[in-house]
């Protein structure tokens, strides 16, 4: 049982949490701002760094993104997606603006665009890891993070070895598709 405050701040589902923190941000609770930062700063900064390949510039993007959210939290519409994907989108926009401001020769521009493509793919895959069905994510994490072979993973999850193999393959196919799709859209 999570330790819930009366208005259910730590509700168990993602949409519920996103709604609750949005409400608190709109009200102007500093503790909500701190929670927002603690929950998402490493994603925002990691993404900004992948775009810009520059620590200081990435830090500036982090500051801008959180300032933008805090200045107008009502702009986030939970119905349209998770808070995380909204922050990812704000980060991408801010980072691109930084890039547009820096003069670059054509070679550097091309390398930059390649990096942005790779960063976007990685960000979509990151998101897919959290968004994919739990049955697939669990077995992928057991294999990738927990270093279980698929037979151990199957035993641990109480599924057949066939099923474990199938889930591993499906999960990776989802990641691959998530990373690839956007690239096609972008080109």
């Amino acid at each position: 049982m999570p330790n819930e405050t009366p208005d259910g701040t730590t509700g168990t589902t993602r949409p519920h949490r996103d709604h609750a923190i949005r409400r608190r941000l709109v009200r102007g609770e500093q503790s909500a701002l701190a929670e927002l930062y603690d929950g998402h700063a490493s994603v925002v900064r990691g993404l900004a760094h992948r775009f810009l390949d520059d620590e200081d510039a990435a830090d500036r993007v982090v500051a801008e993104v959180f300032a933008e959210v805090w200045a107008d939290p009502g702009a986030y519409e939970p119905e349209r997606g998770s808070l995380r994907s909204w922050l990812t989108e704000l980060t991408r926009r801010r980072a691109l603006r930084h890039l547009d401001e820096s003069p670059l020769d054509p070679g550097a521009r091309a390398r930059l665009e390649e990096r942005i493509r790779a960063a976007s793919a990685a960000a979509r895959a990151d998101h897919m890891v959290t968004a994919m069905p739990g049955s697939l994510r669990t077995v992928l994490e057991l294999a990738y993070v927990g270093r279980r072979d698929y037979r151990e993973a199957a035993a641990e999850l109480g599924v057949s070895e066939d099923e474990a193999r199938r889930r591993l393959r499906l999960g990776l196919q989802l990641l691959s598709a998530a990373a690839g799709n956007g690239a096609e859209k972008a080109s």
């Binding site: 999570p2 330790n3 819930e4 405050t5 701040t9 009200r27 102007g28 609770e29 500093q30 503790s31 909500a32 701002l33 701190a34 930062y37 603690d38 700063a41 490493s42 900064r45 990691g46 760094h49 992948r50 830090d59 982090v62 500051a63 959180f66 300032a67 805090w70 200045a71 793919a121 990685a122 895959a125 990151d126 890891v129 069905p133 049955s135 697939l136 294999a143 990738y144 993070v145 279980r148 072979d149 698929y150 037979r151 993973a153 066939d162 474990a164 193999r165 199938r166 591993l168 393959r169 499906l170 990776l172 196919q173 989802l174 691959s176 598709a177 998530a178 990373a179 690839g180 799709n181």
Partner: protein
């Protein structure tokens, strides 16, 4: 349609549009299959078909390197002979690379206060965090960021906790359970649920035992989530009661006003985070200066009572003179250096006496973080890097009194 019986499609409803699109590409004859007879249609390929089906189902496990050596060998022998599998194998291997999160890019802890300050300049909070909550907020966030980097195995790392009069080794998970169980006393004072449930013991020692026991039953993700959620709820509840800094928090063996209780919990969180960091060999620095200053002040204000307690126990020199309450008495000038430091005047003969610069008989000089580590029992008094001046006995009494403040 895939040339192979499409066992995959539709199996994972809710996988999203991306799934369909990704699986679709498998069936489209891409450049790698153009002109090559599909393995399924290859003449007398009954055996090949079976091999293909069996090995194809292994591609995910193979890409993650979680199948047996024999299976790995079989897949790798199959790939050069089967372009569709080779194509999928390449895509899945690339996808494994995407599982890697860039954990090494965790933001600098100082970035947090910079970013939050900038936000608040643009739009002041309607419910700000009182300054006396800030150290607890920042230190728990810092420990949480450290924990984000922990792999599964590291959660069982033995962590040695030590204080002036004892030591105890817990797993990393156990340390977090200990912190959460004591924080729970602050939570209940604020009207939040006791993390150990109704009827849980109320002393720090018993609560720690209960929490460590539960830790064995529940496992690290549960313990971490519970600890973290509670820290956030405490910060929030304290901010909503900003006017209530004096709210009494009952730790059974002692009571503290909320403001001091939170300074103490921030202190404990920092020190145990250092214990954890030392156990897993991560760097971990002291709190931000403005937060360190509150912790230093919290410790310094407890010194007169600590000196008196040692005297009652026969460990400190008896008072040189009897001083009426409120009258000026012999004083030690405690000078704490560093950006979290300042000057404190500690009455030596009685906690009720008035300490004053004019009655200073001794001076003790310490850096801010060193002073805190001495109070945590992490630096023994005789090894403390302390500047001493004046009455030797007074200096020693205070130095040892600082160390007696430490506990698990």
């Amino acid at each position: 349609m895939s040339p192979v019986g499409d066992r995959e499609t539709g199996l994972e409803a809710g996988a999203g549009a991306g799934a369909g699109a990704g699986l679709e590409t498998e069936g489209v004859a891409g450049p790698e299959t153009a002109g090559v007879a599909g393995p399924e249609t290859a003449g007398a390929g009954g055996a090949f078909d079976e091999e293909h089906l069996a090995l194809k189902s292994l591609l995910g496990a193979w890409a993650l390197a979680v199948c047996s050596p024999e299976e790995t060998e079989a897949v790798e022998a199959h790939l050069p002979r089967c372009p569709p599998c080779a194509g999928e194998a390449r895509r899945l291997r690339d996808a494994v690379g995407l599982m890697h999160r860039e954990e090494s890019l965790d933001p600098d802890p100082l970035l947090r206060s910079r970013v939050l300050d900038e936000c608040l300049r643009r739009r002041p909070a309607s419910t700000p965090l009182p300054e006396w909550v800030a150290p607890y907020d920042a230190e728990t966030a810092r420990l949480d960021a450290l924990l984000r980097d922990m792999g599964e195995a590291e959660w069982n790392t033995p962590v040695r906790l030590h204080w002036a009069t004892g030591e105890r080794t817990l797993t990393l998970c156990g340390v977090l359970a200990h912190l959460g169980s004591v924080d729970g006393l602050v939570a209940t004072a604020l009207g939040l649920d006791d993390p150990l449930g109704p009827g849980a013991p109320r002393t720090v020692g018993d609560r720690t035992e209960t929490a460590v026991e539960r830790c064995r039953a529940h496992g690290p993700p549960f313990v971490r989530n519970k600890w973290r959620t509670q820290t956030r709820n405490i910060v929030r509840a304290a901010a909503l009661r900003a006017h209530d800094a004096a709210l009494p928090v009952d730790f059974t063996e002692f009571r503290r006003p909320l403001r001091d209780a939170l300074a103490g919990r921030a202190f404990a969180c920092w020190i145990h985070a250092e214990d954890i960091a030392a156990a897993v060999d991560y760097p971990y620095g002291p709190p931000a200066p403005e937060h360190l200053a509150r912790i230093v002040d919290f410790i310094a204000r407890r010194l007169p009572e600590a000196v008196a307690a040692r005297r009652r126990a026969g460990l400190a020199a008896p008072p040189r003179r009897l001083t009426a309450a409120g009258a000026p008495g012999r004083t030690l000038h405690l000078e704490i250096g560093g950006r979290g430091g300042g000057d404190w005047y500690v009455p030596l003969d009685s906690p009720a006496a008035l300490a004053s610069p004019e009655h200073t008989v001794a001076r003790l000089v310490l850096e801010d973080a060193e002073f805190c580590r001495l109070a945590a029992g992490h630096v023994p008094p005789r090894e403390a890097a302390a500047g001493r001046e004046g009455d030797d006995e007074a200096v020693r009494d205070v130095l040892w009194a600082v160390a007696t403040l430490s506990r698990m």
